[in-house]
Subunit: 468 residues, 3 copies
Amino acid sequence: MPLTDPDRLFPVNEKQRDLARALYATVSGLPIVSPHGHCDPRWFAENARFPNPAELFVIPDHYVFRMLVSQGMPLADLGIPRVDGSPVEADPRKIWHRFASAFSLFRGTPSSLWLEHAFEHTFGIDEVLNAESANAIYDSIEGQLATEAFRPRALFDRFNIETLATTEGPLDDLKWHQMIKDSDWSGKVITTYRPDAVVDPDFDGFAENVATFGALTQQDTSTWSGYLEAHRLRRDYFKKHGATATDHGHPSAATENLDAATAADLFQTILSGAFTPRQAEVFRGQMLTEMAKMSLEDGLTLQIHAGSRRNHSAGVLAQFGRDKGFDIPGRTDYVQALKPLLDAVGMDPNLTVILFTLDETVYARELAPLAGVYPALKLGPPWWFYDSFEGIKRFREATTETCGFYNTAGFNDDTRAFCSIPARHDVSRRSDCAYLSTLVTTGRLREAEAFEVAHDLAYGLAKTAYNL
Amino acid sequence: MPLTDPDRLFPVNEKQRDLARALYATVSGLPIVSPHGHCDPRWFAENARFPNPAELFVIPDHYVFRMLVSQGMPLADLGIPRVDGSPVEADPRKIWHRFASAFSLFRGTPSSLWLEHAFEHTFGIDEVLNAESANAIYDSIEGQLATEAFRPRALFDRFNIETLATTEGPLDDLKWHQMIKDSDWSGKVITTYRPDAVVDPDFDGFAENVATFGALTQQDTSTWSGYLEAHRLRRDYFKKHGATATDHGHPSAATENLDAATAADLFQTILSGAFTPRQAEVFRGQMLTEMAKMSLEDGLTLQIHAGSRRNHSAGVLAQFGRDKGFDIPGRTDYVQALKPLLDAVGMDPNLTVILFTLDETVYARELAPLAGVYPALKLGPPWWFYDSFEGIKRFREATTETCGFYNTAGFNDDTRAFCSIPARHDVSRRSDCAYLSTLVTTGRLREAEAFEVAHDLAYGLAKTAYNL
Amino acid sequence: MPLTDPDRLFPVNEKQRDLARALYATVSGLPIVSPHGHCDPRWFAENARFPNPAELFVIPDHYVFRMLVSQGMPLADLGIPRVDGSPVEADPRKIWHRFASAFSLFRGTPSSLWLEHAFEHTFGIDEVLNAESANAIYDSIEGQLATEAFRPRALFDRFNIETLATTEGPLDDLKWHQMIKDSDWSGKVITTYRPDAVVDPDFDGFAENVATFGALTQQDTSTWSGYLEAHRLRRDYFKKHGATATDHGHPSAATENLDAATAADLFQTILSGAFTPRQAEVFRGQMLTEMAKMSLEDGLTLQIHAGSRRNHSAGVLAQFGRDKGFDIPGRTDYVQALKPLLDAVGMDPNLTVILFTLDETVYARELAPLAGVYPALKLGPPWWFYDSFEGIKRFREATTETCGFYNTAGFNDDTRAFCSIPARHDVSRRSDCAYLSTLVTTGRLREAEAFEVAHDLAYGLAKTAYNL
């Protein structure tokens, strides 16, 4: 029996299942467009082998290690490095064994689907992972990783990736992207401009970052106009390295549209370091509108990823740093929050702002009504915890009736787990085909239309929304 | 192939579908009770022909034009009049062609179901609307609109409408209703008292409106007692024109129960124009309780439509005015908000307050628990963006287990798109039959009971809740 | 035809239904573990007969009488005692008749499933309750209640209850539990420490309660250290009467982690009675963290039941007192609220904190992400209004993908309606089997795993989470 069910995620009713299968057959082989994610461009620049199964599947994947932690496994036992450099588990086989022994924790989760898809389809494994099979599976993966066919570029090609966007900070020199470009490999790996480090006053080292930002761009970033110009130049630099989009990871979706003098004054306050939480919020909000205005000039799509309460555990943050699975969603408002930006530029059809949320209650109440009327807005796919069968189902059911399919932006895998990319796109394609088959069999969509929409959801919409 | 699937919205499983069909067969022909909506009574008073397909299907329907706008179509190109009277597209055929060319945007939306139902069942069209078919369909509809059989009264009769409630402001003279009454036509078109213009201090021209209100009723509306008496008289006038209900479109569900002296003082502050947003909110809240108390005297059902963030785009409001598809839902609280009114009159079984929401998160958490215990409360059907298959499904699944069917108030079409009325009631009846068939086939309701409930949901509950 | 469908709550599709049936067959006969509820221990101590059908099914069950009240039935007519002792309906047969006549109100609600399960499976009734059958069914139940086989202990044994936890206040002498222990009956009825009366400054008689608490424990509860020590002693006393858990019914999930001096100062302010609402909130929040720290010492599981807006109707509270069906859920935050407690003790795998909510919007957004990473957290089952087929379905669909099954805590019936216990566990088992069968048939879980999970959900997880 294969590890993964060939009909997984399709409706059980035969009539629906047959149609879902037929729809899926037309999109399963489409190239992968991955317009937003967190893969490391260095992998493709250097094309070195992945070190071992633990470093491929456990250590970089916060979905995986957070589940083990939730049942009492210390982060250090999984090889997660400590901030102070003190020792953590260094034996990848031990880490793998701990992961394998706890694999039943993932029952019913998308992680199990993603992992088993990679085990089966990338590594040809047909055994369920558990304490008994751990070593054999480790050896099998390890053996394959040592071969040319499992180097990053080879996998990229085998995964049929048409475009992979990574995400870099504004101070990044993009040298890995340059190396890829200069290489004889034709894979399309592009960057994305994510300026949080010089936009968010609460970011670690913000003031220094702004100074470095000035040095990099030869602008006086101690003035508002120099700071804005530095952004323009840096956006242009990123664009030259393939970027078609910017990305903004803010605690809320707050936007502002201050007059220039007020904005300049606020910038000075922010630079001084003597700002209130509210002023930091206003500054981030103002910068979203500034970025939207620059997007109207340079054509970059603007992505807003709002609402994560980052680093919830003070202890884990102190010991292990950021991005350790302790980012928790919170209630997020979009209606009042986006009004300043929308009043400024929301009616312009030449702007594309893609909204993401960690608060599903806003799908039907806020995001679909907004995207269903403002030309500048599109809805990003279900994000993070909702990038799953049920998450996608809730998204489609809650948004389609109000904003249709064509105000959505296709799929993002948004992952740093490279081997999960095919699996994630597959889950998205299957889930959408399941949804479409339900619409057709309940008389809400014609069959011929469903085939068109399936293609758009799997491929076309992402290309349009991100100008790819 | 017919435009609309005869089994649309029914479950796919044959057992469920058979029962849904059987249930639907007993309610599909029931007369339409439309106790809340926004049709123009002048249509039925004058019985003039509808001008053209664009004025029938596009220009008055914000569901339709908002979707076109979301993809970059200017409102002016769709013939939406500007506030300053400057020219907009005046050729209905061009407007129709733009609409037809973009019809695929509506895939998966209730608008496509409503429109195709009207095209097929009212106008006998069997072709899908698109750029190619646009002209032929325009001609067909246009030709039919020119005939007697497509005048408003004839359609009203053909639609099998038993009662149609319109909604008028407190200063309306109700002359169209009088003309209908005085005519030889027996169609039952009644009014609804919607006093927002003299209740909401933020309403355009509020102070003038209150003065006119006094002149109309020969009451001194510069005093609290005169103002309240004017409401009593006006409610009575509306009741004489058939009204069985009042309606209140407030930004929130806030209510208050101030003592008379405090209320009178607040009224003076409001009239002076020098009030805070909070005082405006308190005044609106006090008026809901005053209206509820008057309902106990005159028997009018009280409807609360709370939570729309109206006119979200400042630019669109300035150029095109209100009701242009830019009303966006927002989070709305009911539990604390309704407490003052409920403490005052909520235990009185002689009062009927019907609650509507644009925030679906309150269905299970707030509205069903409240309506499931307070004798005065009933839940209105899913409103606005949620008046759809998925919207109705979520409503039933979230509310029935806590407040049952008999604390709900049947269906409202709430539309200003006359031709969508049969379609909207049909969607509601089908969706409810689908839900009931699921309850029966999963052992949660007996089959015989389902037939009774189907009838109540399609017909009986609306008549009871609105005293029709 | 049996009153209840043997396949109730199972999916309609035959393939899914067959699997659901097979799963259910392996768990339907498992002993009932009821680790949280509100049965009266006196029933089992004295083992007196239940007085009559009205006192068994109507008067103690707020789910039942709130529905009747919602349609205008006065509480007094249902025999609900008044605070001032003035007369209410005293004839149980009249109460029963009113209930029976209105039984169709419960169509589609879990109450109808629970009641009919008890009628059929406990009392052998095969007729639908209504005005006509009311008397015969009353006589039948009444006749059976008079027999030994229907005394509390006999029913407890017949219901196959392995453990039943009741809930007692901190001043309770636990004499009924002592009587049970001293009896020759082997039924396991344990207590739970619910200290709200001495923890919540807004509790009726709080100051007196704290004084009594001191007297009971021979501690000086006018000092912070004495007060904490009294808790320690009282927890120990409860533990000796079987308690394995504490329970906390707070208006919010707010927690605090003050330093000892600040906490001691706050305690004095609270004791003085001159505290603000905010100080009361902080004190309750501090006490949750204190309780968690004591749990680390004594091993008691800590339950947080947050978010009920108690006694919503001022009139009903004044006339009939607490717990009369007028507790309404409200929006509740967990992410910020729990941070102080989690920063203090959340990473300790030796602590078990079980979270309950009345705000389903937090399942996917807050609770599953928190429980999916903090070792100390587990999710309690759907609570109160959500303890139903749809409620359980929403809970599983919203939480499983993020925190899996093993960060949940099995089922609680949480009832004071003794005869509903088998029915409630049955609904839970059926609903979970339905969910699992869907996972398997859509390729998200292997069939063999589903059987293991079904057993865990029905039995194992509750035992682990509550140390039973």
